[in-house]
């Protein structure tokens, strides 16, 4: 058990470290002159050479790459990713400022997406008529096919401009959260629903379901008592993908609805080539991904007695 824990934590730390190194290579080593990236692209040619040198020295670009890397890594370990080029504020507080708003959006959208996905899977499994099932099963595919920016704009058009039910932009109050939440939940629910529909169908055909039929159980009873837990488990395995979808979706959702948040901040940081801020965000996202996969790895055995047994005998060593 301890070994298992250590292995999983080690992997998670490796992912975060590698994300840091990868972004370092991409952002600080690959560009011909990283100093260029530190200025607004429109003004870069107007900057006097002595200012450039001063900035380069300030960021340590005049030193060997390996030293720069080690310095940055050392600082990063203490939670210091440098200062934002645009605002001049340290990167970490800048991100932490906007993080709650994105967390709220993402958590809400995830909850909604899970509800949608389970409703679709249950409806598809309990449907007796083939055409109803086909129709329901087509929904997730549609959900992932409509671009987030289009569904966002459609929502705005219908519910804000036509019906006036919800505010179109901004992040004041709970009502302003409704449209972005739905917009983000739709594409996130798609892959989860597809997986659930498939695993519900597989489990519904499995041997122990036949045994339950033979016991005299009813369709609803079988779905609730037998299929649900076995079929729900695999949804955890795509938690990482879901997290990625939430992040990618929030970039666009926050842009469309002009909401404050990590996604919109990232977009702005990339537009202005705010290198330290971009690196900080990417590492944060990778850390989030690693953390979520770690949690899944740790709780999965609790839900599946077969895995739990395998781990318990491992601990006997």
């Amino acid at each position: 058990m301890l070994r298992y824990l250590a292995l999983k934590i080690g992997r998670a730390l490796f992912v975060v470290w590698a994300a840091f190194s990868l972004t370092f290579v991409l952002l600080f080593v690959l560009p011909a002159d990283p100093v260029d990236l530190l200025f607004d692209p429109a003004e870069v040619n107007a900057v006097p050479p002595e200012v450039r040198e001063q900035v380069a020295a300030g960021y340590g670009f005049d030193r060997p790459v390996i030293l720069q890397y080690l310095t940055r890594l050392g600082h990063a370990l203490t939670g210091d990713f440098g200062t934002s080029v645009q605002s001049g504020r340290p990167v970490v507080p800048t991100i932490l400022d906007v993080l709650p708003s994105t967390l709220l959006l993402a958590a809400g959208a995830l909850a909604l997406a899970l509800v949608i996905a389970f409703v679709i899977a249950l409806a598809a499994t309990s449907a007796r008529r083939a055409w109803v099932r086909d129709l329901v099963e087509a929904l997730p595919s549609g959900a992932v096919s409509v671009p987030v920016f289009l569904s966002g704009i459609l929502m705005l058009q219908i519910f804000s401009f036509r019906l006036g039910w919800f505010p179109a932009f901004g992040d004041r109050g709970a009502r302003s959260l409704v449209l972005p939440l739905i917009t983000l939940a739709i594409p996130v629910s798609g892959p989860i629903a597809q997986l659930l529909v498939r695993s519900f169908a597989t489990e519904f055909r499995s041997g122990y379901v036949t045994t339950s039929w033979a016991k005299g159980a009813t369709r609803g009873g079988i779905i609730v008592r037998d299929v649900f837990r076995n079929a729900g488990l695999p949804a955890l395995t795509i938690a990482g993908i879901t997290f990625g979808n939430l992040i990618a979706g929030s970039v666009i959702t926050e842009t469309v609805f002009a909401r404050q948040g990590v996604g919109r901040m990232t977009q702005a940081a990339i537009n202005t080539l705010d290198v330290p801020l971009v690196q900080g965000t990417v590492v944060l996202v990778a850390a989030g991904f690693a953390l979520i996969n770690l949690i899944v790895d740790l709780i999965y055995p609790l839900l599946d007695p077969r895995l739990r047994a395998a781990l318990a005998t491992g601990r006997a060593a």
């Binding site: 499995s206 016991k215 491992g314």
Partner: protein
Amino acid sequence: MTDPHADRQDPLLRITGLVIDYRAGRRRWTPAVRGATLHVGPGEFVSLVGESGSGKTTLVQGALGLLPESARIRAGSIAYSGVDVTGWNDRRMALVRGNYVGFIPQDPNTSLNPVKKIGRQVIEAVRFNEPEARDAAQHRQAALDSMRTAGLKDAERVFHHYPHELSGGMKQRALIAIALAGKPKIIVADEPTSALDVTVQKVILDHLVRLREELGIGILLVTHDLGVALDRSDRILVMRDGEIVEEGPVRRVLENAADDYTRRLLDAAPARHSGRLEPASGPRPLPGREVLRARGLTKTYRLRGRGPRRELRALDGADLVVREGATHAIVGESGAGKSTLASILAGFASPDSGTVHLGDRELTGLSRRRLREVRRDLQFVFQNPFTSLDPRFTVSEIVAEPLRAFGLARGRRERTARVTELLKAVALDEEHLHRLPGQLSGGQRQRVAIARALAPNPRILVLDEAVSALDVSVQAQILRLLVDLQAEYGLSYVFVTHDLGVVRLIADDVSVMKDGVVVETGPVEQVFRSPRHDYTRQLLEAIPGAGLAVAGAR
């Protein structure tokens, strides 16, 4: 009812003229069951025998209302104690299933919910099938009673186990407990023991017989194994292509089968034959000097995860001697290490210690290149012909593969000629040359696999359960083919099997394995007539079809 004998008791289950179709396309249906009629009375043990594709499982699913959605009942009726349940919906059938008819499924390993404890699964079966509500303690008591009736001695302990913590036999008993929990009048068992070892099979089937006697319930046993059916039934039904072609008391069917197919099935059953099969070409050559010798083979598998208990000792000092032109059978139940031994002999795995000699060449520890040379002399036939042939290759490409790899036939024409010759040797003709494995039957595939193994002109064939996945009638043909090929090419066989009945037909020598050790070895007649080891005796007693052997010997 207009039945003049209305006062006579109705049978527990009566199926009349049942026709079940499968959807083959839009508005196209192919029949799987064509007008089957059968009945099972109280306290009666009836067996339904058929090979794969005969429609026996579909018939049973139809009787229980468990047909998949792609199937429909087109005609006929199903009645339990005179109540016609044909066309009942799930809700009404739920009242019949469990408390009128209990079902024992085929594979105990997939038929229990993996995330629920056994006790809860049995309690559910109790709860669904009682007329008035009772409290939890009574449910628990009823479940434990049912588990004890099913032969689980320490029911209290098993109650708190998850399915994966039990052996196959225990799981099947748990499923019997579930079937019994609703206090049914009839139990339908679909191949309840085909996933289990012979010794376990015997115990489970004997227990079913006892249940019938003690509880007076009717039993309908579905099986592919004529021997199993004959040993215990009052009546047997033989099914072929969706029709019941034979019905009658066991003794009558054995002595005087009315149907031609039944007689062929009886003839194909290994238990029917008392001696070894003789090749068609005449007397077989006498076994010569030893060609393959294994000494002190040990193999330990490390399972995922660490610790002393995560190791599996598959082989524990196994010895084996194979004589030239002879068949050496390796028998044992699952986990005995026989497949590990076979794959070490064939060079697919290497032992932790011990040696294998082919003639005077040592096989163990050879480099990849040297091993390849040895493989010209030693070939392997896999158990499952559905996985051992690349689905994208045609028959001629499959058989030509070793010719190409060993550079045995120069040029396309020579290769085609050799492939045709090999196919002829296994009784396939040229029309099969360009078929894909998916277009062949199981028996034909196994013939292709044998032709492929023969291509480099080997001296030894290692056959790993090579006939176990096949129907009896096909199995009989393949065994005959193997005997003929042996005489023709002077081959030596290492024949791995769990089926002692087959051993008698084909082998000269036999080694009995248990837990990675060879417990007994010697000439077949000697081991069968006077087994020295207890385990061998146990195995011999568990062979189904004792009745068949008697009838066949007459």
